[in-house]
């Protein structure tokens, strides 16, 4: 039986009468990498701040490790490593001193510092002042700080924000290894689905403060509907011809869009056009990418056609 690490019920945060986080239920199971997705300003950081006890919810409940956060805050935080709106660091100290300042609070052995430095590959630069670090190094130091207390749960808020592609890759590989190598459950937020796609086992999508999807990433992918797009000589004529012959199509300038894609349907439809001497230049199948599904969900499905891309 799997163990629930995070469970929020009806989590609510109200700022000046608007709900920044509106009755959000989150369930994170042990060993998962939970991708917490949403556009900027959707309420991700607010939710995470509440999970870490940095901010009090206006309503609802938060349970972590089956304990109520309100009454067991310190006990719970001992088991959580976090990175909120990264990177946080003391720039006048070296990387090692940054970790030492936190180690004193976490009361873990000094050897943990060398251990986490080697995990994020900062050992060589550990005695340099953090103000000389690159953004990627600061970010890795942030992850090292999050790992310092041997957490069972990592909560990372946009850990790849502002990194270059190789930095993103590196952090992603690091996070991917957490459940297997260290038995750590991870909750990671991002505004880009593509970033989480390759590591998350489960995703929660939040938009305008409301959770609009929470399930496995495979289920999300199966939502992708293929679509047939045809470029024809006269779009509006083609559409009326097809509609009168009983085919369900949409048209946009010289393009005809068909949702139903069986072979018979498409061949019959094409034959109808050819019989009516309407030229057919292209017939192509388009598949929604995961990113498109995400955009559709977060835009209330608006501009659906515009978000299709050729496959």
């Amino acid at each position: 039986m799997s163990e629930t690490i995070i469970a929020t019920k009806g989590l609510l945060k109200t700022f000046r009468k608007t709900n920044a986080v509106d009755r959000v239920d989150i369930t994170v199971e042990k060993g998962e990498i939970y991708g917490f997705l949403g556009p900027n300003g959707a309420g991700k950081t607010t939710t995470i701040r509440m999970l870490l006890g940095l901010m009090k919810p206006s309503g609802g409940s938060i349970k972590m490790f089956n304990k109520d956060l309100k009454s067991h805050r310190i006990e719970i935080l001992k088991r959580v490593g976090s990175l909120v709106e990264s990177p946080s660091y003391y720039e006048h100290l070296t990387g090692r001193e940054n970790l030492e300042a936190l180690r004193k609070l976490l009361q873990v052995p000094k050897s943990r510092i060398d251990h986490v430095l080697s995990i994020v590959r900062l050992t060589k630069d550990s005695d340099r002042a953090v103000k000389e670090y690159s953004l990627g190094m600061k970010q890795r130091l942030g992850i090292a700080s999050a790992l310092l207390g041997e957490p069972e749960l990592l909560i990372l808020d946009e850990p790849t924000n502002g990194l270059d592609p190789s930095g993103i890759h590196e952090i992603r590989e690091l996070i991917k290894s957490m459940p297997e190598e260290y038995g750590i459950t991870v909750m990671i937020s991002s505004h880009l689905l593509s970033e989480i796609d390759q590591m998350a086992s489960k995703v929660g999508i939040i938009s305008k403060g409301t959770m609009i999807y929470e399930d496995s990433i495979e289920k999300l992918r199966s939502r992708a509907r293929p679509q047939i797009r045809m470029r024809v000589g006269n779009g509006s004529a083609a559409k009326s011809t097809l509609l009168s012959s009983g085919y369900v199509v949409e048209h946009d300038e010289e393009y005809i869009y068909v949702e139903e894609g069986s072979d018979e349907y498409i061949s019959g439809l094409t034959a109808t056009l050819v019989h009516q001497r309407i030229p057919v230049y292209r017939i192509e199948e388009q598949r929604q990418s995961l990113e498109d599904i995400f955009l559709d969900l977060t835009n209330d499905g608006g501009e659906a056609n515009a978000s299709y891309s050729a496959s």
């Binding site: 006890g53 940095l54 909120v84 990177p87 946080s88 300042a101 936190l102 609070l105 976490l106 009361q107």
Partner: protein, 239 residues
């Protein structure tokens, strides 16, 4: 837990330039002491010399230094998400406030010691007659330190909630400037936190002095009020 927090704070502040600031106020008071000429034929030169030197330190610079110390201990938390990380550690927020309070108090205590040392140094340098009235001088110096408690509690709280380093400092400058006027008012002198250290460092029975008991009550009440407000506010503040 408070011990680890203090150790952690010490590690963080150790590498800042706050140490250089510990000399400012005592050295300035020393210069005032050096240039001042004592009236001839007074009974106790050392005591008189203390009364000449201490206002330079306690009336203006000491309250300002407290806001600078408070600013220093909060500055690195305001930059680069320090508060969020600190408060997501398994530590109590009131303990964080207490730890930072103890550090500012410690810095103020060192500042007082430096003042005491420079007083002796300049006094001997000038070749003052007689013996140092040790009990009197220590009482005034230690009393001055006790009198900074309300101001430390208040200024630290403001430095924690205001992300600007300059804001608490500016407020302290504005409220320290009227000190000379306030010191002359018998009603406000005992209760005004910015002037309390000065009053406490003045000898009993002289001008500006306030009966010790009522002064201690005023300082104690102000300290408890500011400390409680600060601690409770930090506890429930969203970061």
């Amino acid at each position: 837990m408070v011990r680890s927090l203090v150790a952690s704070e010490f590690l963080k502040i150790r590498k800042t330039k706050v140490w250089l600031l510990l000399f400012i106020s005592p050295i300035l008071a020393g210069i005032v002491g050096l240039t001042a000429s004592l009236p001839p034929e007074i009974s106790n030169e050392w005591k008189h010399f203390f009364i000449v030197m201490s206002p330079a330190h306690s009336l203006l610079l000491l309250p300002l230094m407290i806001s600078v110390f408070s600013g220093f201990i909060c500055r690195y938390e305001h930059q680069h998400g320090g508060w969020r990380r600190l408060f997501s550690m398994p530590v109590g927020r009131q303990q964080v406030y207490l730890a930072k309070f103890l550090i500012v108090f410690g810095l103020t205590a060192i500042n007082q010691l430096m003042f005491f040392a420079i007083y002796l140094l300049v006094g001997y340098g000038k070749g003052l007659e007689g013996t140092v009235p040790a009990e009197f001088v220590l009482k005034c110096t230690a009393g001055g330190l006790v009198a900074t408690l309300p101001l430390i509690a208040l200024t630290l709280w403001l430095a924690m909630i205001w992300s600007s380093f300059a804001a608490p400092f500016t407020l302290n400058v504005i409220l320290t400037l009227p000190n000379i006027l306030v010191a002359n008012s018998e009603t406000f002198r005992p209760v005004y936190p910015w002037v309390q250290p000065f009053v406490m460092m003045m000898p009993q029975g002289e001008v500006f002095s306030v009966p010790m008991q009522s002064l201690l009550v005023a300082i104690g009440a102000a300290f408890i009020t500011f400390y409680t407000i600060g601690s409770l506010n930090i506890q429930k503040r969203a970061v």
